[in-house]
């Protein structure tokens, strides 16, 4: 029943996710034959992904999205539906889509199992969405924009990203808010972590160099563009949002679990947060304390955090 409830706007299918496709099949098979409690148990006990699916802290970015019982929300690349369900508690209706059929089916299953009425589930990519202009009060893109270059319909990945953001701009009602959760290209965490292509340091490289390295090491071009603060500002402006209507927050430890949400443009707030970090002591603490004493130190350090929450009002 729930499988038929997914509105399929595309025919092709591609699976990716936090766990393997075999595990996803197993999950759906439990959903078909057993109770919701068994599904939850499998997620908790075998997949160890309970917080990714049923958690609430990962959706704390919603605290900064204006939502009420009249709000119509679009959750893009909704995965297994965590933000869809958390938004549905506060909003009037949530339209939720993912490119993967199986992931969309799981969202649909959960909607049925938990008897949530105010959610519509689609399997779709961005190109095949057929919503009218000015439909949504809020659009959620958590961990999505960096992957839009993979659409690969333009030579430059930024153009793919821009096209979708312009589409989202048109979908928003005047006064509506587009939320984006995304990495900062210049984050210091890339010194010891990996870029989206699985390689180290490519985020810092000029694009042409990142492209050469990715082609050599991975056999495909570099298309998962992330940006600096200024890069995102420019991108949002080009997508049709006025500069003064785009607000940036630093998310710590990251946009996927925003325990601390600090307004980027509020130097006082960033300094206070850095002061708290410095209190933890150690070499890192001492370094932060020294660097954040002058204003320009704070202004520099705020560009080095891992990720941003961006709220753009139409």
């Amino acid at each position: 029943m729930y499988k038929e409830q997914v509105k399929r706007l595309i025919e092709n299918d591609k699976y990716w996710g936090e766990f393997s496709e075999e595990k996803m099949d197993e999950l759906l098979s439990i959903a078909d034959t057993k109770d919701f409690s068994d599904v939850k148990y499998y997620i908790e006990d075998t997949l160890h992904r309970s917080d990714f699916i049923f958690g609430t802290a990962r959706s704390d970015f919603l605290l900064y999205v204006p939502l009420d019982k009249e709000s119509v929300v679009l959750d893009c690349g909704s995965g297994l539906g965590i933000h869809t369900f958390n938004a549905a508690k506060k909003a009037g209706h949530v339209h939720s889509f993912d490119q993967s059929l199986k992931r969309s089916q799981f969202t649909s299953y959960r909607k049925q199992a938990q008897q949530v009425e105010n959610i519509s589930v689609y399997q779709s990519d961005f190109k095949n969405l057929n919503f009218t202009e000015n439909k949504f009060d809020s659009i959620l893109m958590n961990g999505v924009v960096e992957w839009l270059g993979e659409i690969d319909s333009h030579k430059n990945p930024r153009d793919d990203q821009l096209e979708v953001l312009q589409q989202m701009h048109s979908y928003l009602k005047p006064g509506g808010v587009l939320y984006i959760g995304i990495e900062n290209r210049m984050s210091v965490s890339y010194l010891h972590g990996h870029d989206h292509n699985g390689l180290r340091f490519t985020s810092y490289f000029p694009r042409f160099l990142a492209n050469i390295v990715t082609k050599m090491r991975k056999g495909k071009p570099y298309r998962t563009y992330t940006y600096t603060y200024w890069g995102y500002k420019k991108l949002m402006k080009d997508a049709g949002f006025k500069e003064e209507d785009v607000t940036f927050y630093i998310a710590v430890p990251g946009y996927n679990l925003p325990k601390y949400i600090i307004p980027f443009d509020d130097i006082q707030a960033v300094r206070t947060f850095l002061g708290m970090m410095a209190q933890k002591g150690g070499i890192k603490g001492k370094l932060i304390k020294i660097l954040s004493t002058p204003d320009f130190g704070v202004k520099i350090i705020r560009h080095l955090f891992f990720s941003y929450l961006i709220y753009a009002k139409k």
């Binding site: 704390d60 204006p66 601390y260 307004p263 006082q268 206070t272």
Partner: protein, 268 residues
């Protein structure tokens, strides 16, 4: 929420004159009923903390904490401070509290033992109220069908105890994570479980057990006997240990029954 928070602050401060900032400081967990804290400050000076519950369906939890904290603040517990509630009310559907901010160090596991005496001293100053018979407590706790073996052992042991215990007000979840130290002042925070375990002495025993890493009862009694100033008799410690463990077991395994038992025991 941003606009709503600004609305709260505009009631308290002249936002045209003062540049007041705030940011999401923390959350107490992943559940819908976890507390979310927003840190409020002015030119690097901490002004306070706004607390809400993530899902407003659980507002009552924060309301309970707010009442408890006010009560604890006004009762002026000797040597112990409590963050002051500066304001409370509703913002949209969320109940909020705005309280003074204590930028202190959480005692934490590492320093937990250092503060056993402080907690003991606090316990000594909590008034013992009316007597409660252990047989009645045992009866209430054993009215719940629990098949767990350890739980049955605890109940059996409790049934052998004779003397009475006393009713008394308590924090309800006094652990090394809920004690803050700032300039040698000790603060008790997180009052959401206030009034749940209304037996005198349980705060100290609860803290003591966790500070000693949940060791076996006999080992704990050994540690307890080494204390210079004991807030209670060894016998009382031993009884309260059993009650604390039973409460813990119920809270973990059957929250609804736990709440019921708490109410019943507080009415004995």
């Amino acid at each position: 929420m941003v606009e709503a928070l600004q609305e709260i602050l505009s009631k308290k401060y002249n936002l045209e004159k003062h540049k007041i900032s705030f940011f999401k400081l923390h959350h107490s967990g992943d559940s819908p009923h976890a507390k979310i804290l927003f840190f409020v400050f002015d030119s690097n000076k901490a002004l306070g903390v706004i607390k809400i519950i993530r899902d407003f369906d659980y507002n009552d939890k924060l309301q309970h904490e707010c009442d408890a904290q006010r009560k604890a603040f006004s009762s002026k517990i000797k040597n112990i401070s409590v963050p002051k509630i500066l304001d409370s009310g509703f913002v949209g559907k969320h109940f909020y509290t705005y309280e003074s901010f204590v930028l202190g160090e959480v005692v934490g596991r590492k320093n937990a033992l250092k503060y056993v005496d402080v907690v003991g001293d606090y316990q000594l100053h909590v008034e013992k109220k009316k007597k409660v018979s252990i047989s009645q407590i045992h009866q209430t706790l054993s009215s719940i069908q629990i098949e767990d073996e350890r739980c049955q052992d605890l109940l059996r042991e409790l049934s052998k105890k004779q003397d009475d215990v006393f009713e008394g007000s308590n924090h309800g979840d006094l652990t090394f994570m809920n004690v803050l130290v700032k300039n040698k002042n000790i603060y008790f925070i997180d009052w959401e479980n206030y009034g749940e375990r209304t037996i005198w002495g349980l705060d100290f025993v609860h803290y003591f057990i966790r500070a000693h890493n949940n060791q076996e009862k006999d080992v704990l009694i050994g540690h307890f006997e080494k204390l210079k100033e004991k807030p209670m008799k060894t016998y009382e410690f031993s009884v309260l240990y059993l009650i604390d463990q039973l409460y813990d077991f119920l809270e973990k395994n059957n929250l609804a029954e736990y709440k019921k038992v708490c109410t019943e025991i507080s009415n004995l």
